[in-house]
Amino acid sequence: MINSNHNTKSECKVDKIPNKKKQEIISLKNIWVSYDDINVLEDINLSIYEQEFLGIIGPNGGGKTTLLKVILGLILPSKGEVKVFGRKPEENREYIGYVPQYPLFDREFPISVEEVVLIGRWGKSKYFKSYNQIDKQKAQEVLDLVGMLEFKNKQIGRLSGGQQQRVFIARALVTDPKVLLLDEPLASIDTLLQTGFYELLERLKKKMSIVLVTHDLTAVSIYMDKVACLNRRLFYHNSKEIRLEDLEATYRCPVDLIAHGIPHRVLRKH
């Protein structure tokens, strides 16, 4: 669509990240979702490319979880088209790793950390067979990666919120997904641990795309390649820059300043 030769203006945007023929893995075209005639998502267009870290910010109730569920094929849009690796989401779920916001589980459920992660291997296992050595090996690897290996025999409900979060990330990673969807992952993580969390994502990014949704503006990070704002409509310029007018349109109120941890800046100087 964008013809680079057409760009006659000399001042080209520095922060625009060129897509060096990165493959598009998820595409949403003109997506509308409504519950009982109330629109939750309006005309969403979004492309997610390989090995890209996209942050989506927006207020609570802005449709962030719904958008993720559309990508997962859990919610059928009333209009529009979703493609995951060129096919319907439900046909390509094995490529998606999903970390839900508050996993809907019973804290007293008798299940160990390792068993939780093994559930993620379901798609790679066979019917009528239990999980094999390869599955267990893989579960160990991802638990090690998220730093939870020592807790593998613990009952999941005995862990802290942040530890549970890491187990659910491991559960999502255990199938080697091509894209990782994270719904408000920082809600249960201590601010001090956030850097460690982002470093983990940075390592993961070499192997997969990451989509992180959050209502928390301070969660926008230097590690993100692109940032979009969502409040029923998506404000997105395929770049890392957030425009103040988009933020204000998203949050429906003036946004003063986005204060970040020091060494990075998402907004242009203004």
């Binding site: 094995e94 809907l104 589980f105 007293e108 008798p110 160990s112 939780v116 798609g123």
Partner: protein
């Protein structure tokens, strides 16, 4: 004590308790961890329609209750998940529908309905060899299916949304689980009756959940717990001349309260 075992009906009653404990121990675990107690109660009550159908057709009510409970399980599962009717409303309606059909069938049947009361509240001392064979076969079916789908039922019970995301056919498995609940109700109907069945489906599993670290262990513990309650209830009901089903339920409830009390003391 041992002289009780000389009676044929006592031997049958004890066997019935063991067979019932296996079914409710295994399936009760899923009912408790997946928190589907209400729909299970609904299936149990709706299956009264099958008992009525059995009387109406002049056959053993067991042959009416098996298909009827399975059909009501499937209808409840589908209506509550696939329509816009809220789940608890759908269950409530089908619950009452099944029971009313049962009452109407019985009303239409010629003569009166012998031992109708025993299907409602259980009558463990009148269990026949045929009943025991039916219970044994249903137990084997339940064990086999749970053994084959252990992974899938675990994924479904722990976090069904995530299970759906990774491609587990959660809806089909949920319906299969409801059918197993229906079969378990058939196994338990002679012991405690359809009205009281929900006690055995929840209490032993709820107790074993407190001390178990995984589902398999939880199943074995709850089989053991329900067998113990069953035997104590049976002996008490015989010696005190009380209704057997209700006595077993009372013993279970007291056992549950004791466990809660012990848990409080431990803290």
């Amino acid at each position: 004590m041992m002289e009780l075992l000389q009676y044929e009906f006592m031997k049958n009653a004890l066997l019935a308790i063991i067979l019932a404990s296996i079914a409710c121990g295994i399936i009760g675990v899923y009912i408790v961890v997946k928190k589907i107690v209400f729909i299970s109660g609904g299936i149990a009550h709706a299956s009264f329609g099958g008992i009525g159908l059995g009387y109406f057709l002049g056959i053993n009510p067991v042959w009416g209750i098996i298909p009827f409970s399975i059909i009501s399980a499937l209808v409840m599962g589908l209506v509550s998940k696939r329509t816009k009717i809220p789940e608890d409303t759908a269950i409530g309606i089908i619950w009452a529908l099944g029971m009313s059909l049962g009452v109407i069938f019985i009303g239409l049947s010629p003569g009166y309905a012998p031992d109708l009361f025993s299907y409602l509240f259980g009558s463990i001392l009148t269990v026949t060899t045929t009943d025991l064979v039916v219970m044994l076969i249903l137990d084997l079916v339940i064990i086999k299916v749970v053994f084959l789908f252990y992974k899938e039922f675990l994924a479904l019970s722990f976090d069904d949304e995530f299970a759906t995301v990774i491609g587990v056919p959660t809806m089909k498995l949920y319906l299969l689980l409801l059918c197993l609940i229906a079969l378990t109700i058939v196994v338990l109907v002679r012991v405690v009756g359809i009205i009281l069945v929900i006690a055995l489906l929840t209490i032993p599993a709820a107790i074993s959940k407190q001390i178990s670290t995984n589902l398999k262990k939880m199943m074995f513990v709850s089989i053991f717990v329900s067998a113990v309650f069953g035997v104590i209830g049976l002996i008490l009901s015989y010696q005190l001349n009380l209704a057997s089903g209700a006595t077993i339920v009372m013993v279970s409830v007291i056992g549950f309260l004791l466990c809660q009390f012990l848990k409080l003391c431990k803290r």
